[in-house]
Amino acid sequence: MVGDDAVIEGATGSWEVVIGLEVHAQVISDAKLFSGAATAFGAEPNTQVSFIDAAMPGTLPVINEACVAQAVRTGLGLNAEINRYSVFDRKNYFYPDLPPNYQISQYAQPVVGPGMVRVDLEDGSVREVGIERLHLEQDAGKSLHDRRPDATCVDLNRAGVALMEIVSRPDLRGVGEAGAYIRKLRAILRYLGTCDGNMEQGSLRCDVNVSVRRPGAPLGTRCEIKNVNSVRFVQQAIDYEARRQIDILEGGGEIEQETRLFDADRGVTRSMRRKEEAHDYRYFPDPDLLPLELSDAYIDAIRAGLPELPDQKKVRFVEQLGLSEYDAGVLVAEKEVADYFERVADGREAKTASNWVTGELFGKLNESGREITDSPVSPDDLGDLIDLVADGTLSGRLAKEVFDAMFESGRPPGEIVEERGLEQVSDRGEIEALVDTVVGENADKVEEYRAGKDKLFGFFVGQVMKASQGRANPKVVNDILRQKLD
């Protein structure tokens, strides 16, 4: 099944858009990949830089064990092969934010081999996207080009931070799939706790490979668009790039394999002015390091500590909690949502919890433009609200009113119910008195009802509820009315 946007109609027929993604995911770790400097975001320039990160003469790298574990964890989460033997290589190129003028990366022998990610598409279908590899490498520093008109300023705080480069096969078709893949990958990383997925801060960055071909034809020549930092921009870049390539091909031209940049302001891709001549990186194994060898026991221990991932969670929600495929899919798509839901559903009826979360809560969050992580209603409070309905304290209608108030104020449901006197009245005596009054005041209607006008029963219920200001327990009201009238 192929998304609607996977095929573009050109002037001379249709074209299939083929996409592969190289995602750079910043590893969650306290220290850098090969030095003991900190990785926190937003520090003053060059304050999180060791002599190693600045490539001072005679300094040497030593690998951070946590970063290796994170890469293995991620590989397992991507259903991938973990290589027992991998090698760190130097990728040689000159750039001022790369202090040694080589990047320590993994080339021929990465730590993680082929894997697969299941991507849920809008239409409910699933596409299996091949992962070619995952390797560990160092991030570069940051070049600021607009701080001075005549010069570039370099901050090395990010230089040497661990990245996982996750390379997909060219299995994606169209912008919809590309977006869904990034979101799914991001969710897996966050479930695993290996990358925070924060695209604004650059913790997740995409290089996008785009080519076009006639449906069924062999792969066309691709262009790589570097460093695109949001899902929306990835989609814009693909869209622009695909159309650019189609125009060239339909005009009788050929695609030149090249690296391009995405200009977010103008929504276009453009050729990099700085053409890296020949792309000759002169990879060779870093002689300052030894090959990375991992034992089965090490990998098994990490496997045993893996959390439940979205696909597994979805199956459990459907099979054990009885949720619909759709609801389960929505709830597992983001770790925070799943966590919230599970907290609400803990010891409660799952379907009810799901309805509250995907219905009322999502509605309010959407309306107010908030994320679930800053929801004013905590999962425990929402659970309490559900309990108030379940034990008859609140009617469903009042519960919604209470929920709105909770979202407004961030207060727990108990307080609101008490303050507004919203407890449902279930006391038989109290309700019987109300019923008696209503029956007494409407003797004519009672006659009609008893003569067979059944529909009038609803009228009596309404009158009693009104008299109770909506607080009477409808079940009890029904019960007593039947006794009195029938």
């Binding site: 770790s29 306290d30 220290a31 030095s35 003991g36 400097a37 900190a38 003053e44 320039p45 060059n46 304050t47 999180q48 830089v49 060791s50 002599f51 190693i52 990160d53 600045a54 030593v62 690998i63 951070n64 064990e65 946590a66 970063c67 290796v68 090698v87 000159f94 001022p96 070049s143 600021l144 080009h145 701080r147 001075r148 008109p149 005549d150 010069a151 570039t152 300023c153 370099v154 901050d155 090395l156 940049l261 990099m272 002015r273 700085r274 001549e277 020949a278 000759d280 002169r282 194994p285 390091l289 030894l290 090959p291 990375l292 060898e293």
Partner: protein, 95 residues
Amino acid sequence: MSLDKATVSRIARLARIRVPDEDLERLGGELDNILSWVEQLGEVDTSDVPPMTSVVEMRLPKREDTVTDGAYPEKVLGNAPESEAGFFVVPKVVE
């Protein structure tokens, strides 16, 4: 085999060493001599031989994930030919 000027020039560019045109030929000759000499390695049958990865039997040591270094920008920048406001400064880079 001989190293032509274009090759020497390409290598010099990759190595980021400026070699004036008038020196290309001389340097090409020198490199050529060395390369011709090392090419005797081609005689050795290495079909089943793995490349050396480490001369001593060792496993890659790993460090703990704790912040133990950094927080000395004045030392990092202390030898810089040009710096400003905590940054290294280089000629304008155009992407």
